[in-house]
Every structure is written in C-alpha cells, then in structure tokens.
C-alpha cells in the first residue's frame, strides 16, 4: 500500500498526477530518465536519497541542458499532489511497479533497455506480466468477420494456455482479450489512456477480480486519449509478447506503424491474417517481412507463431517455391491466390484432394498469382499498363500478357480512353 522511497522518487520525477497545468514542471521522458538514472547510478545514489533534506548537495555535480536542477526540484516538491493522486488511484485498485520490482516485465527490459518505462500503473494480476504470450493487434474498426476470427484466436490461445497481449482499445484489441478471458484464459492489456476507468469497466471487472487479466499503462491512470501515447504504447505490446499477429491493418496509423517498428527492431515474429479487404495494409506488412498466418483458426498452432521464421521477403519465397521447407510451406499455403483466400473466407472448406490439386496449381501459377498480389494495391484506382510495368520492374510484354489474362479472369476491369486497368470489386 505505501511505497518505498525509491518508488516515490521515481513517481515524482516521471509521472503526471493530473492534467498538466500551464507552466508546471514537465515530468522526465523515458529517454531523459534513462540519462538521469544512469548518472545517479554512477554517483552511487538511490532515487530515494533525492527525498532527503540535503538533496541539492547530492545534485551538485549534475549538469543537463534539459533536466535542470530547478526542474528536478519542482518535480520532487509535488509530494502532496502525488499523495492525493495515489490515494485516489489505489482506492480503485491501481498499483504501481517500477523497473526494480520483481514483476516488472523482463521481456521489456531485455528488448528496450533503458527505454523501458520507469513506471507502470496497473490493475489486476501482476504475475501475468512475465508470462509472455501472443500479441494480437488490429484496427478499432475491424469487420465482423475479422472480429469473429479475433475472438476465436483469443479462445484458442486460452485453450493452449497462451496469454493474449493487446492494447485494450475497441475493436481487435478488446475482442482478442475478451476472447481469451471469456474462455478462462489470461490476458495482458497495455492501455494508452484511461486506466482508471478501465479498472471499473464492467467488461473487465470480473476478469480482473478472478486474476485472469492485468491492465497496465505507462501513462498516469487518468490520462486521456492522445495519439502519441497510443503510438508509444504499441511497442510495449510487442515487447511483452513472444509473437505477434496482425488481424487487420490500415496502410497508416497505429497498427501499421507498430508493425513496421516491430519488423525494424526485430522484437518478435510477426504474422498477418489474410484479408479480403483490398484497402488493408496487411499485404504490405507481409511484403516488408512479416508472414501470412493460417486463415483458418483450426489449422493454426498458436505456439508456432512464436518460432522465428526466415525473413519472408518476396524473392525468397519465389525460391522457396522450388524447394519448399516445412515452415515456408505453411507460409505459402495461406499465401495463396486471391480466389483461394476469398473461398476460405466464405467458409467453403475444400476437400483434402481438392486442396492438394489446388496446391499444385498454385505452384504452377505462382508467378501470376504473385503478380496479382502486387497488382492489387496498384490498381485501386485506374492505372495504365506502362505505369504497372514500371512500378513492378517487369517487361512490358509480360505485363500485357498477364493483364489480358486478369481481365479474362474478371480480376481486372479494362477502362478505355486512355486504356487503364482497375481492380474489380464485385458487389
């Protein structure tokens, strides 16, 4: 209930206690704290010592353009504000952990180093924080089909004893988490805002009480929504998990940026659900190095999503087609033609024989299918044949061949005056 001097000092230096007032001292950013904490460590000082009467002497050797002595002093003098805020937050069941606490997520420290947040606020079962699990992310406004899939992923993870890590927002986040906890599984939610409200929301309450859920936030529990915070939160979702699955992403925004950041930093294996939505960024994310996951929940082995795959850039896959390994095979199976994807979504399960036939055909036609996949985003709006060959770096005549075939297949619509091609969106 009451905190150690170290925790108190870290809170004073790093968190807001209410909506910031104009002219008030700004808490340190994670980067600034990293710098200051390192200096404290060098000086063999503990944060708690900053609460002593002689703290100005202790700081005599500290010099920093942004983290001035006055700023530190003003932050440390917020004791009354901290007491008022903590009393309120703790009443709602909110607790505080700092990096030195046993339950602080170790994966975060390992992956982010000094940039791992100095403080997390949380409600629910702290012991879940070091469980790892599957990160499930996606848009707030996902389609009903995607949400059904998401819910099923949550339930399947639950039955496999795998924790779901997500962002607690509307849509995919919330659905994956509820899918898990409603199936008696466990879940971690990393909130970008309003932890205090979430602590009392009916949808989370019983799961928090039954220890199957933990909600944490690096931002103060009454923080309102803020795009920057939401973006910053994504990295914690990835870094607390062992693998990540993107249900649906736009071509910009939180999910998109988070996915690319994960690819760039290479935190956890990244999987993407095939989608029918042509406006989605799912495919682009795969093109940048993620893998397609099974479109069928039944076939998916959740634990396999934690296994690091060879980077799946398109060229590699082309070679893989000749010499398929077990894992690549898995990839290419759902990495199928547009037609296969849509048939699967419609739920018509092909027989084993048909699947095999299709599989063969797929290999024969893989270059054409591959072409189509790249063509799709280009042809959202009508585009000329020359522009296509330029964009994809293909010979004009080859492009022409395939375009004719695509129009015949009904995949493309040919427009005249001037001649352009557009993806065919039936119905």
């Amino acid at each position: 209930m009451s905190f150690s001097g170290n925790t108190q000092a870290i809170l004073l230096l790093n968190t807001y206690f209410s909506k910031p007032e104009r002219g008030a001292a700004k808490p340190l950013t994670p980067t600034e704290w990293g710098r200051f904490a390192l200096w404290l460590k060098d000086q063999k000082l503990s944060p708690a010592q900053l609460l002593q009467k002689n703290f100005s002497e202790l700081l005599a050797g500290w010099q920093d353009k942004n983290i001035t002595f006055d700023r530190i002093k003003a932050l440390l003098e917020r004791g009354n504000a901290m007491a008022l805020a903590l009393e309120k937050w703790q009443r709602a069941g909110v607790w505080v952990i700092t990096r030195s606490d046993e339950c602080y997520p170790k994966r975060l420290k390992a992956r982010l180093g000094t940039l791992a947040p100095p403080v997390f606020f949380g409600v629910g079962n702290k012991d879940l924080l070091n469980q790892g699990g599957l990160a499930v992310v996606g848009s707030r406004n996902a389609s009903p089909v995607d949400l059904v899939f998401t819910d099923a992923i949550g339930a399947k993870s639950a039955s496999n004893g795998i924790c779901i890590v997500s962002g607690g927002a509307r849509g995919v986040d919330e659905t994956s988490m509820l899918g898990a906890v409603n199936a008696e599984g466990t879940s971690i939610g990393v909130m970008a805002d309003s932890l205090l409200k979430a602590a009392m929301a009916k949808k989370w309450r019983s799961h928090l009480a039954s220890n199957n859920l933990v909600l944490i936030s690096p931002f103060y529990p009454e923080a309102g929504f803020n795009a920057g915070n939401a973006m910053a939160r994504n990295k914690y979702v990835y870094c607390m998990a062992d693998g990540a699955l993107i249900v649906h992403s736009g071509t910009k925004g939180g999910t998109w940026n988070g996915a690319l950041e994960n690819l760039k930093k290479d935190w956890v294996p990244l999987w993407v659900k095939p989608t029918e939505d042509r406006a989605a960024g799912n495919e682009d994310i795969v093109n940048q190095g993620a893998h397609w996951c099974h479109n069928s929940i039944d076939k998916m082995v959740v634990a396999d999503l934690f296994i690091k795959q060879p980077s799946q850039v398109p060229t590699l896959d082309l070679w893989g087609a000749e010499e398929p390994s077990a894992s690549q095979d898995k990839g290419s199976e759902s990495y199928s033609s547009v037609a296969t994807v849509s048939s699967e979504i419609r739920g018509s399960q092909p027989s084993l024989l048909e699947q095999k036939a299709e599989h063969k055909e797929q290999h024969l036609e893989s270059l054409y299918a591959f072409f189509l996949k790249h063509l799709q985003p280009l042809c959202k709006t009508p585009i000329a044949s020359d522009d296509i060959s330029q964009s994809l770096g293909l010979h004009k005549s080859q492009v022409k061949e395939w375009l004719i075939r695509a129009v015949e297949d009904g995949v493309l619509v040919k427009k005249t005056q001037p001649v352009r091609y557009q993806w065919n969106n039936p119905g």
């Binding site: 708690a48 002593q52 504000a81 007491a83 069941g93 009392m200």
Partner: protein, 697 residues
C-alpha cells in the same frame, strides 16, 4: 528561516511588537519549514496553533511555494481564522457548501497564485468532485497540509470519523520530503501512539492541558422532566451564556422549545438544522455560532455538531443534558467553558435514556452485512448507479445507502468508486471486517463505562479528566464539587417547574409533513408522476406522540399491542386537534386508513374520535390487496411501489376531511390516501396519527 525573522512575523500577526513565541511554537515552525518534518502537535485550545500554520504558510509563500491546505471540521473556526490570517498578510479563503457559487472564482484565484491558505472541511476532502476539479489542478504546488483535530484519524479516538480515514490514506502516501502538520487538543497516549503507528515517521510535540477556574459537578436525574426542570431553574442563575449538550437532534429541538417556553433565549443547533430565514443549513449554523459568540443568545442547545475548535473565550457554562459517550469527548466539550474568564461551570447530567441512546449509536455506526451485500450486488450488475437509483435496486433506506457508500468508499483499495455522479463497483474484493467492527464496538463500550465511572467518582473531577487524557499534571483543582465536598449548583427541583415540564413532555406533538415527490416509475397504476400535483397533496398533519416515548407514546405502543386504543388517547387527540392544532379549514368529516390485518383497530379509534369531534365518520377507503407491511419498505422507491394500487376510495364528500391512522412512519400511506381522496372529490385532507416512528430518514 531563522528564529528572529519568524518572530518578526509573529509580532506583525498579533500587532504586538513585544510578542514572544509560546512554548513550542517556534520549534513547530522550524520542524515544518526547515526540517520538512511530519509533526503532530498536541496542545490545549488557545495555545496558538494557528500562529504556527499561518507563519509557516507565510514562509513557504515567500519561498515561492503554493497554497497551504487546512482541513478543519468547523465552519465558525474557519471564519475566525481567515480574519487572523489577514492580519499576517496571509490571504485565506474557504470553500464550503455555503459558498458554492464562488468556487470557480476561488479556484481561479488559487490557480493564479493569489491565495495563501485554503480552509476546507474533511467532508470536502472526501468529495471526488472537489478533488478532481479544484484541488488536483493546484496540487503540485501545495506547500503544506494541516489536519486540525487530528485525533479523529485514530480508531482509538473518541470521535473517529469516516472522512478522516480518507485523510490518513492521503497522508500515508506523502514522501519523506513533504512536511505535514496535525493538531489536536484532545489525544491521550493511546491515540497519539495509534497516529504514530499509522503515519510512521512523525514527530510529536505535546504540551500540558491545564484548565484553571472550571468548576465541575455531576448530577444523576433519571427522568427527562426533572432534568428539563433543573435546566429551567438553573440557567437563569448562571452569569453569562453557555451551551447545553444533548445527544440527539430531537432532544435539541425539544430542550430548546422548553427553554424558550420558560423565557430563556435558546436555539437548537445540529447538523441539518434549518431556519426559514436562511437558504442553507450551514448558513444558519454559522449564524447561530455568531449569535452565541456575541452573547446574543442565552444558550445554544447543541449536539456534538457544535464541535471541535469552537472557541468562545467567555463561555460561562457547559451543561450536558445527557451524558456523552466518552470521557475524552466530555473533556473536549466541557473544556470549551471559560477559557478566557476567571470562573466557569461544567455540569454533567445523566438520565435513564442515555444508555439506550448510546447502545443505539454503537449499533448503528456500521451498516449491516445484508445492506452492504444488497448495494454491492446492485453495483455489480451495472456499469454505474447513482445513490437514488440504488433505492430502486435494493430495499435499503436512503440513509443506510449513504452509510454503506461512505463505509465502502473510504477503504483503500475500495470495492466501490465514485465516477462523476455514479457509483461503480471496482474489481477489488470486499468482506466485512467483523473483527474491526467488534473492536470498535468494544472500544465504545469501555469508553461509556468510563463516563459512568466519572459520574460516580469521589476524587477530584478535573484530575479524573486529566488522567483519562494522560496529562501528567495530577494536582487537584480545588474547585469541583468533589474537592469542595458540596454542590456548586443546587440539585433540588422546584415542584412547580417539575409539573410544567411533565405537561410539556406529554404534548410532544409534531407536524406530519406531506410528501410531495414520488419516486420515479413507482406508481404505475395510480400514475402519479414525480411531482404530486398541489391539488392532490395532503395538508400538514399532526401526530400526538413519538412511538414508545414517555408521555402518550408509551400508551400508544402498549394499546397497539393489545389491539385497542383506550379512550384516553381519543380525548388527548381531540384536545390536540381542537385546542392546539387549528387546521386552516376545519374538517367536516372523518375517515381512516383501512387495514386487512387489524380491521377494527384504527376504524374503532377513528369512529370514537369523530364522535368526540362531533363529526360524521365515513368508511371511505378500501384496501384492495394484501401488500407487504409498509414499515418493511426501507426507501422511497420501495415505499411508493408497495402502495401502488393498494387503496380505492369508495365513498367521498366534498368538505375538508380528517384522515386518521395509528402510526405514521414515512408518511407515504397518508400521502397516497390523500391524493386518492382529492381525486374522488374531497376537500383538503388533514392527516392525523397517534404516534410517529419516523427517524427523519
């Protein structure tokens, strides 16, 4: 900050160039502003605590820090303090229920750094709206928190208050570099130790609690009539003005009425006391405090609501009409007398009802487990409910709902949390702490025993009090009834006044206030909307007695049990109606509330009452169904719901009518019957009843 500079500030504040710090004042200031310590100051009232916190405030402000927050339970004290702060050039303001329209301005002034000191009540600090919208925005700069009457934070204190539990939860979270000041005049060692153990690293500064010139006496007078008579004959003999302490609001009204009847200028004072000339109860209370302060009243008849910190140096006497629950509470109350005058008097009367009242108080401190569970279940099944909505979702009275909400919400972590206007269930588990409840109840029992010991002791009464407060000084006072071995005030009662008091008590009549606002959606069949139209409302009625009370109340209870109200009650009621009530329009006929369980009881009484008043009795109302007992309905929604469709008017006349019932509780039965009668075409409806069991809830 050095001693000399601080002394300069003191001299300015007291407007006295020679002024010196009292023992301990400078040490306290130094501990706060230089050592940044957490400090508990135990000093008698009048020692000068306010100099400590105002001078400290001044010093912090000169260093560029923000507002000091002073948490104090007394409104009058706040105004006195604001004046004395002004002398020091300290700008102090208060936020309370009487100046709600100024909150925004005050908040902006605090934000603009124009306020040095903010005085608030503990209730205010427990109010989430206030915390979120006023305090939090300025909280980063708060220089010091001061908790007045700090003994209230201890379970061991005689006066533990739930709102102080919130305060201790805040203080426990203060870091080591943040000073805090607690002050009290009444804390024994056990309370001080408890506060220390709860707050950890806190320094205690303790001074002597000497009180010279206060003459104490005790007097056992079992019946109320004797005590009323004693008050009426004693108060005029005492020079100066004083306080009579009573245990309940009803006693405050009754005693004040009696004293006024006896020509003494008395007023009742309690929380929620109202006066038509004042918009709010707090406003009226401030007015009463001022009246007494300026000797414009002979006596204020007060409950403990006239509590801590009321500082009137020339208060001549403090008389307890009933014994308080603990000796520390007694010391605190009687200790208000004569601080600034040579001699004063403190008499503790004790009556036979005291024990029952304290037993009731002890039993009603905590809500029952069933009530707690009803509220938790209702909240569990929702995403937030207001206190009003909880009435619909439980059969718990409004007052008990508030009690449950308060008890649960001060826990930390708490099972419920107020989010804006609604209460929400949190994920935190809750179970009643039966051990703690048993411990507190036992604590109260042993405190009550100590009061009885005081009543019967033959040692010096002042020494007895000091000992209870762990004050080291054990010299006898040489001025109490025990030291002098004779009464300070005569104990014989003149038989004439005693007789008048007995008559006064018999006429414990009270108005029956009509209900005007029905619970939403409760009257589906009758279709009464929230506001009952004026034309259907009952008139203000009259009730003869309090159920079970001395006077008629006892007889009513006995007769109800035996199934027949005796003629003496008929005569008394008729007398009340004819001689003292005089309704605006005289009723021309009489009817009554029917009952299926006791079909004869009330009609027989109403018939005989009609005969005595020479009016026709009409069996006008029928009961349609066996609804459950109205007295089992605990809140407005359930009471209204239970009556929906219960009665039909079968016969009706156009003149004003007397509506008779035996017992009135919430008044909803007569409200509904009155509406139905007037819908059927009757004239005005005047309810009358034999006894009231209403608790004012």
């Amino acid at each position: 900050m050095e001693y000399d500079q601080a002394q300069e500030l003191l001299r300015t504040s007291l407007d006295n160039p020679e002024a010196e710090f009292r023992d301990g004042q400078w040490e306290a200031i130094d501990a706060l502003v230089n050592q940044r310590q957490k400090l508990l100051v135990v000093q008698r009232t009048g020692w000068g605590k306010s100099s400590v916190y105002f001078i400290s405030t001044k010093i912090f402000r000169d260093r560029g820090r923000g507002v000091t927050i002073i948490i104090s339970p007394l409104l009058a004290l706040m105004r006195n303090q604001i004046d004395s702060a002004a002398r020091l050039g300290v700008e102090a303001v208060t936020l309370n229920s009487t100046n709600q329209d100024e909150w925004e301005t005050i908040k902006n002034r605090i934000l603009a750094n124009q306020v040095d000191c903010l005085l608030i009540s503990p209730e205010r600090l427990a109010n989430d709206d206030f915390i979120n919208h006023v305090l939090m925005p300025v909280s980063e700069n708060i220089s010091l928190m001061v908790v007045d009457e700090a003994h209230c934070i201890s379970d061991w204190g005689h006066d533990f208050r739930p709102d102080y539990r919130r305060i201790i939860n805040i203080l426990q979270r203060l870091p080591a570099n943040t000073p805090v000041l607690g002050t009290t005049a009444t804390a024994n060692n056990r309370v001080v130790d408890d506060i220390k153990s709860q707050l950890g690293d806190i320094v205690v500064q303790r001074g002597p609690l000497i009180r010279d010139g206060l003459s104490l006496q005790t007097l056992e007078l079992p019946d109320q009539a004797s005590r009323l008579a004693w008050l009426a004959q004693t108060i005029p003999q005492l020079n100066g003005t004083g306080i009579v302490y009573v245990l309940t609001k009803r006693d405050a009204d009754q005693v004040a009425d009696w004293l006024v009847e006896q020509g003494i200028d008395a007023k009742a004072y309690y929380s929620g006391v109202t006066d038509p000339a004042f918009e709010t109860s707090d406003g009226y209370r401030q007015h009463l405090e001022d009246q007494l302060l300026n000797n414009r009243l002979d006596v204020l008849v007060a409950t403990t609501a006239l509590g801590m910190g009321y500082d009137k140096p020339d208060l001549a006497f403090v008389i307890h009409y009933q014994a308080p629950g603990s000796i520390v509470a007694y010391y605190q109350q009687v200790g208000r007398a004569g601080r600034g005058i040579a001699s004063s008097t403190g008499v503790l009367l004790s009556g036979r009802e005291d024990r029952d009242i304290h037993e009731y108080f002890r039993g009603s401190v905590f809500p029952t487990e069933d009530e707690v569970n009803q509220i938790l279940n209702a909240l569990d099944n929702s995403d937030g409910l207001t206190a009003r909505q909880l009435e619909e979702h439980s059969n718990v009275s409004n007052g008990q709902i508030e009690k449950v909400l308060k008890m649960l919400s001060i826990e930390n972590p708490a099972p419920i949390f107020k989010d804006g206007r609604v209460w929400k269930r949190t994920a935190n588990p809750f179970s009643m702490d039966h051990d703690r409840i048993a411990h507190l109840t036992q604590q109260r029992e042993s405190e009550w025993q100590e009061v009885q010991d005081y009543m019967s002791t033959d040692v010096c009464l002042m020494t007895f009090l000091r000992k209870a407060l762990d004050d080291g000084n054990r010299e006898s006072c040489d001025c109490c009834a025990n030291c002098l071995e004779q009464n300070i005030i005569a104990t014989e009662i003149e038989s004439d006044i005693a007789h008048q008091a007995a008559v006064f008590l018999r006429q414990a009549e009270a108005p029956i206030k009509p209900n005007k606002q029905a619970a939403k959606d409760a009257f589906v069949q009758y279709d009464f909307r929230t506001n009952i139209p004026l034309a259907l409302q009952a008139q203000v009625g009259r009730v003869l007695s309090r159920w079970g009370d001395a006077g008629w109340g006892y007889m009513v209870a006995e007769d109800k049990h035996n199934g027949h109200f005796r003629d003496e009650l008929v005569t008394a009621t008729a007398e009340m109606i004819r001689e003292r009530w005089n309704p605006e329009e005289l009723p021309t006929w009489v009817c009554c509330i029917p009952s299926r369980n006791h079909p004869e009881l009330v009609p027989s009484f109403a018939q005989r009452l009609a005969d005595a008043l020479k009016l026709p009795f009409v069996d006008a109302i029928t009961k349609n169904r066996d609804n459950s007992l109205q007295k089992l309905q605990q809140n407005r929604y359930q009471r209204c719901r239970n009556l929906d469709g219960a009665f039909t008017v079968t016969e009706c006349y156009s003149g004003p009518v007397l509506l008779v019932d035996d017992i009135v509780d919430s008044g909803w039965t007569s409200t509904v019957a009155a509406a139905l009668l007037q819908q059927a075409g009757s004239g005005k409806v005047y309810p009358v009843a034999l006894a009231s069991t209403s608790t004012g809830d």
